[in-house]
């Protein structure tokens, strides 16, 4: 099944200051799960976006929301 990418203006920031301070030592991926009326919503955040994307792609979601930079 193909995943549709949707660009949105805001996604909650899950990173904490300590994550930024150790970002060059630890590859942190933060994930928050929430049950909604439509199913399970997964919010992810990471300074290593390709790792987060790989993780989420493995779930094969119908839709993946992303923010654009700038």
């Amino acid at each position: 099944m193909g995943t549709k990418i949707k660009y949105v203006p805001h996604i909650p920031d899950l990173m904490e200051w300590e994550d930024y301070e150790t970002v060059d030592e630890k590859k942190v991926v933060r994930v928050q799960l929430r049950v909604t009326d439509e199913g399970v919503e997964i919010i992810g955040d990471s300074p290593y976006p390709h790792l987060l994307e790989e993780l989420l792609a493995g779930i094969d979601p119908k839709e993946l929301e992303m923010m654009l930079c700038g």
Binding site: Y7, P9, Y48, H50, L68, C69, G70
Partner: protein, 287 residues
């Protein structure tokens, strides 16, 4: 077209109507091919491939007015690739009393920037590195063009801010940092805000390390050594380097939490409330 309402600060314009919102707009495609582009899914594809909807200039401006924003910003990808569309929107936006801004890679012919200056109020241009083969290999464009356009933007009277994605192996060495910060100070002015951004592995550069704390600190130190009065960074100092600080008395004049403004203490003339030092920028409504 991709459209979203966001804080103007997200365009890395911190001295341009701070605290206001911008209707942000971009189209697929770019005239550069940076190996680290975080928006590569959009910038390295075409309109037909993306299938993004077309929105007429009048409709874009109507949406901006309805949303109550102060600015229309061309961003996400390089605005010069859709310059005719941008111009049509900008002219209508200005008639409607809105300011117009752009986030650009600065890679355009001289006449293009001059044309843009006739309908643009503010611009953030990326200074991705110092001229040389490394820059050309990573970015696929010549940095000399960008340097010329930074000078030109200043001469044309656009409100100008500069961003540098601090990328290990590209521009984190002392020679590059010294050259870039000296250039900004000497040729653009010490009041030009400089945004030091952190590289995170992405797109074709997933094997490259994250910019270290030390590299960020070194870049900021070079900026201050060059005399730059406004050097910004998101990650260091628990976010406090995103605040605007009076260069004379060090009072925090604009406080931010991320890209959101939480306090603005500048007076109506854009001066520090403590010492009356004017802070360079565009702080009052433009039209």
């Amino acid at each position: 077209v991709l459209l979203a309402t966001e804080p103007i600060e997200k365009k890395y314009l911190f001295h341009f109507l701070p605290g206001g919102n911008a209707l942000s707009l971009g189209t697929p495609g770019c005239n550069l091919g940076c190996d680290y582009c975080i928006n590569w899914r959009v910038s390295q594809r075409g309109v037909e491939e993306m299938g993004t909807p077309l929105v007429a200039p009048d409709a874009v401006v109507a949406q901006a007015v309805a949303a109550g924003v102060e600015v229309i910003a061309f961003t996400y990808t390089e605005p010069t690739i859709f310059i005719e569309y941008a111009r049509d929107i900008a002219c209508r936006a200005r008639e409607a009393g809105l300011a117009v801004a752009a986030k650009s890679n600065g890679y355009m012919a001289p006449g293009v920037l001059a044309e843009m200056a006739s309908w643009l109020d503010g611009i953030n241009i990326d200074l991705k590195g110092w001229p040389g083969e490394r820059h050309r290999q990573v970015v696929r464009g010549a940095a000399t063009v960008v340097l010329d356009n930074l000078r030109r933007a200043r001469r044309l009277g656009l409100w100008l801010e500069v961003s540098t994605l601090l990328t290990p192996g590209l521009n984190t060495d002392d020679e590059s940092l010294r050259a870039m910060t000296a250039f900004i100070a000497a040729e653009l002015g010490v009041d030009t805000p400089w945004h030091v951004q952190r590289f995170f592995p992405h797109y074709k550069m997933t094997a490259r390390p994250v910019t270290s704390q030390r590299q960020l600190e070194t870049a900021i130190a070079w900026g201050r050594e060059a005399g730059l009065r406004y050097v910004y960074n998101k990650e260091l100092g628990q976010g406090r380097l995103f605040d605007t600080v009076c260069p004379t008395c060090q009072t925090v004049v604009v406080a931010r939490e991320g890209f959101e403004q939480v306090d603005n203490r500048l007076n109506e003339k854009g001066e520090c409330p403590q010492c009356r030092q004017p802070v360079d920028g565009v702080f009052a409504s433009i039209r």
